[in-house]
């Protein structure tokens, strides 16, 4: 079976600054794949190359079809939900409006989707009319996940979900991601600095170093890998 997402020799740049120098990776359907690496390694840019929010070259295939020159709106409509760094919640809008935006590209009623989202985030019900900006950081991250889930994505791109969250909340976020993956078969490509938790959640992982894939393999193997242990896990 062809992988759901396939990157081959992908390069990307911001103006004159090259951020990716030929990244190749594959994400199989139903998997959680983690991308690890230090600051500036190109983790975020890898996700942005997929969602079309950065100028990119090389081959990107989603479900066998080239994403090519599609802009972010089209990529979103193809079934890829990108939760960017800083979550991309609309702080000025209500929680409910944020969720409505998740279902923006569909014509059908959002009732069923909302009911499904409530199974994972029951507290959203009573916060429906609250302004998203007044939620706590952890709640906003959950809202971003819920909104992405409303998109009914086939692939979820998750950028640094642990950023700025207390350790307990980080565990909670990853627990929900894992649960979504196991119960709904949602495919996830997650970028994370916290290698420890990312390697627990993912089946496969890639390590980026200055815009290239330095290492890759099943999470269990990478966890034992000498350099990963020393650089990213710290023991």
């Amino acid at each position: 079976m062809a992988p759901l997402l396939e990157l081959h020799g992908v390069t990307a740049r911001y103006g004159q600054v090259h951020a990716l120098h030929g990244v190749s990776l594959t994400v199989d359907e139903g998997q959680v794949v983690a991308v690890l690496g230090a600051n500036g390694a190109g983790k975020t840019t890898t996700l942005r190359a997929v969602s079309g929010t950065v100028r990119r070259d090389g081959e990107i295939r989603f479900d066998g079809r080239p994403l090519g020159r599609h802009g972010p709106e089209t990529v979103a409509r193809l079934g890829i939900a990108h939760v960017p760094e800083g979550r991309g919640t609309f702080a000025e809008l209500t929680v409910w409006d944020n969720l409505r935006l998740g279902g923006y590209t569909r014509r059908t009623s959002l009732k069923d989707d909302f009911a499904r989202v409530l199974e994972y985030f029951p507290w959203l019900e009573e916060r429906r009319s609250q302004q998203a900006g007044t939620l706590s950081g952890g709640e906003q991250q959950m809202l971003a996940l819920a909104r992405a889930f409303m998109q009914r994505p086939r692939l979820l791109l998750l950028d640094e979900p642990s950023l700025g969250l207390a350790p307990l909340l980080v565990t909670e976020v990853f627990r929900i991601v894992k649960e979504l993956n196991e119960t709904t078969g949602l495919t996830v490509l997650v970028v994370e600095q916290n290698a420890h938790i990312a390697l627990q959640a993912a089946q496969t992982a890639y390590v980026l170093e200055v815009g290239r894939v330095a290492l890759s393999g099943p999470s269990a193997e990478l966890r034992e890998h000498e350099s990963v242990r020393r650089s990213y896990l710290g023991y």
């Binding site: 103006g15 929010t53 709106e73 979103a76 960017p84 000025e92 935006l101 923006y104 590209t105 998109q151």
Partner: protein, 334 residues
């Protein structure tokens, strides 16, 4: 780097406090004062109603400015001239045999299309270069539209039928012009429709998302460029409403129709806080009433001083409370 700046949302985050309490109390006090004045003096009541009608026109145009400011982050200096051109389109339709209200509806549709075309043709190409480039384009549009209208319809004075007639109602010794009441009604209807569109429809949600956070909006599939174009179209429609309602008060139609109104609309929009649609409406109405009452009761402020006085209001707001009545101070989160 332009691409980078465009993709990353560089705009400062906003605070979420609504209207502050002193502002609410101040507005409430003003309303009490107006109500008291209206009950005790017929002339006061008459001037207040006339002021509300003029203010409704300022409010419509100010709302158009705010719509564009929220979407494109510039003041559209051509807003008044776009409105004036719309009035000439209505004039032409009436000349061709349309009734006033048929022409009214068709003009709004044409204004929408023109607004969209302007955004796509001349704003979009420069939108991501710099704010000053967009401002210069809108100034250029001002000159272009003014020139085109003068070329097509000449500088000659023209007349349009009065949409509400010349009837005057009398109630308790106070005279109310049907024209004033009609202007207010049309403005209220258009503001309510617009509010409904933004608050309750999917299109409105997409437009709000696109204006607030374009980068995040694209990620959920909102076609931001389309939303911005529709925003310009709606602003042009509001402008056309303002123009058509401003015209009868001036009795004649000439290309300078909206130039003073634009100044009042600027003042109203700044008074309301530039980013707040509700602020633009309140600002417009307040300015209309205020200028009328000042003109009536402060004797050295004659009609020649009306415009400088509005400009003084604008300056005072910028100096004392730059965020206006309903504006939110911008706080950059790090």
């Amino acid at each position: 780097m332009v691409e980078l700046a465009r993709r990353i949302d560089l705009r400062p985050h906003r605070t979420y406090a609504g209207v502050s309490l002193p502002v609410i109390l101040g507005l409430f006090a003003a309303c009490v004062f107006l109500a008291g004045g209206c009950l005790s003096s017929g002339i006061f009541a008459q001037q207040t109603v006339a002021g509300l009608a003029q203010g409704a026109v300022y409010a419509s145009l100010a709302l158009a400015l705010v719509l564009i400011y929220r979407a494109t982050e510039v003041i559209n200096f051509a807003q008044g001239e776009m409105a004036m051109a719309s009035v000439y389109i209505a004039y032409q339709l009436i000349q061709w045999g349309f009734s006033y209200w048929e022409a009214f509806v068709v003009t709004l549709a044409v204004a929408f299309v023109l607004g969209v075309v302007i955004q796509v043709a001349v704003i979009r190409p420069v939108q991501h270069t710099s704010v000053i480039a967009v401002v210069i384009v809108t100034v250029g549009l001002f000159i272009l539209i003014d020139g085109l209208v003068n070329w097509k319809w000449g500088g000659a004075i023209r007349f349009m039928p009065a949409p509400f007639g010349q009837k005057v109602y009398h109630a308790g010794g106070v005279a109310f012009a049907r024209q004033d009441l009609g202007t207010m009604a049309v403005t209220v209807v258009s503001v309510v429709l617009l509010w409904f569109l933004f608050q309750f429809t999917k299109l409105g949600l997409g437009m709000r998302a696109a204006a607030l956070r374009p980068a995040a909006a694209t990620l959920v599939g909102v076609r931001v460029e389309v939303m911005l174009a529709i925003g310009w179209g709606l602003a042009a429609v509001l402008g056309a409403v303002a123009g058509l309602m401003a015209e009868p008060a001036q009795f004649v139609l000439q290309p300078t129709l909206m130039q003073s109104v634009l100044l009042y609309a600027f003042a109203a929009a700044v008074l309301g806080g530039l980013e707040s649609p509700a602020g633009a409406v309140v600002g417009g109405l307040a300015l209309g009433v205020f200028l009328n009452l000042v003109g009536q009761y402060v004797h050295f402020i004659t009609s020649e001083l009306r415009q400088p006085f509005a400009f003084a209001v604008l300056l005072a707001v910028l100096l004392v409370k730059p965020t206006g009545l309903f504006g939110r101070s911008r706080v950059r989160k790090v």
